[in-house]
Symmetry: C2
Subunit: 299 residues, 2 copies
């Protein structure tokens, strides 16, 4: 089987992926986009990471588009995607674990005041803050897919009361009692801009936001206003409207914002390649594909 | 029963303790040190937190010295302590949990590069680091008492390989493979200065130190030299030779040092008071005292 690998990689990243994919699926003949264009009728599948729009046009035998990324909003925005070809998301246990680690780190940091202590160190200030118990810090996880579910379970295991929200549930009763909100929603028309002034106003005073999903979930100006008014305590942001976060964006230097470089959960090449190999095997065998995207729903 | 409460409290702290202790042990008559001096023959027990040397002299009926602190090295250094009176340490499940939270936060921060990301944010740098799995980060916990044990278990539960060391075990085989060392030892003549140049040299390159026990466990100059040479990656320090950490101490501004204000595990007044009440009840009933200090051993 011939499979095209295409994405916005640099050469080193592309080589790393090729090593990992070859090890996981040694029977596959891996092609660059350029090589695939030379024999387009033979390409049965595409393994993609943020491919340039139009990349997947002109492959008449394509039967699977497998994303190396969990979020497929960028991929689905390409109006030239071949209609009817199944698209599968990456659901990688190693990536879920990494996401849960980042979320747990953010919860511990907020609960125990470690961001405030870091600011105090910069100012040479020695000052203890009151210490709450984990049971007093209420966590709301938006999104109850694989990542949201793993994350909620890990945080609950540490003694925090955790509530989960997903599409179709009433949100208002949950926001009222959320000291920390962790966003792990897919980006869809319904969730774009969900973290806005109205949402923040529903949270109790001194609540904090942890956005690990997509930058477009947040209305940046609303978040900055809610932090500056003193209503919100802190925001941990891993994702942004534009990435890398542009120089001069107010998040960079805001004392109540922790900026991460979209590193909450990097794809684990070894583990993700095993997931890809499984789906390519399913394609060969005519078995059901794993983690197929519902294009209408958007994830 | 009359019990003297004495320590280096400010008025607000002392009032908080009195409320909590009164709630936990309503039958006890709590006395200030001044009030106790007026009727020294009636004082059966002393509940202490860093009392001034000599405070506990002149109470002939004293049958228990109960520390509100887990570490009793300061208390034992008072040569005027009445000989033969049992001394008990504070072993508080809420405090153990808080210590484990801080240790887990430090491990997650070091494993996932969050201290490095915080420095990058200050410089406006967007740069991802390679992501290791928890299983690749080896943690060594020095001290296997209540805090060390709880901490090791919580970290192991997150997927990190954890080894524990306590008095009497060979240390060298463990240091060779420790990426993160967490110190939770009691401070004794044997452990003073244990985190020194020799110890650091035994660790693999890019190891990190988390000291949550006592400042005197560390030879400060050796630690700074090991960080500056690039051998050690980072140090998280909650305790210091002199506290508050003096202005101008190099730890304050060292880019590879995280300074916490002895806040890794604050005593939880409610939970600690319940422990005190239990031991006062045991004293009344002639039952065995809990967590009695071996004065020769030093903890």
């Amino acid at each position: 089987m011939k499979v095209v690998l295409c994405g916005s990689f640099d050469a080193a990243e592309e080589a790393n992926w090729l090593y990992a994919l070859t090890a996981a699926a040694p029977d596959v003949q891996w092609l660059s986009l350029q090589a695939a264009r030379a024999a387009p009728h033979e390409v049965a599948a595409a393994v993609v990471a943020n491919p340039a729009p139009g990349s997947l046009q002109g492959f008449p035998a394509l039967r699977l588009i497998q994303s190396l990324w969990a979020g497929v909003n960028g991929l689905l925005a390409d109006s030239s995607l071949p209609a009817g070809v199944p698209i599968c998301r990456m659901v990688d246990p190693a990536m879920n674990a990494a996401m849960a680690e980042t979320a747990l780190w953010a919860v511990l940091s907020l609960h125990r005041g470690f961001f405030a202590y870091a600011r105090a160190q910069q100012q040479g200030l020695w000052q203890q803050h009151a210490q709450r118990r984990a049971a007093q810090v209420r966590v709301l996880v938006l999104g109850q897919g694989e990542m949201g579910g793993t994350t909620a379970a890990r945080i609950q295991q540490q003694g925090y009361p955790v509530q989960g929200w997903r599409r179709g549930m009433a949100l208002a009763p949950l926001t009222k009692t959320a000291d920390i909100v962790i966003n792990l929603l897919p980006l869809t028309a319904q969730t774009r801009g969900i973290l806005n002034a109205d949402f923040f106003a529903q949270l109790p005073p001194q609540a904090s936001i942890v956005n690990l999903a997509r930058g477009a979930h947040v209305v940046d100006a609303d978040l900055i206003a809610a932090l500056d008014s003193g209503h919100l305590q802190h925001a941990v942001l891993d994702v942004f409207h534009t990435e890398p976060l542009p120089a001069g964006h107010p998040f960079w230097r805001h004392p109540k914002v922790t900026v991460l470089p979209h590193a909450a959960a990097l794809t684990d090449e070894r583990s993700a390649s095993a997931v890809v190999a499984k789906n390519l095997r399913a394609l060969c065998d005519g078995a059901p594909l794993l983690h197929r995207v519902d294009v209408q729903r958007g994830y």
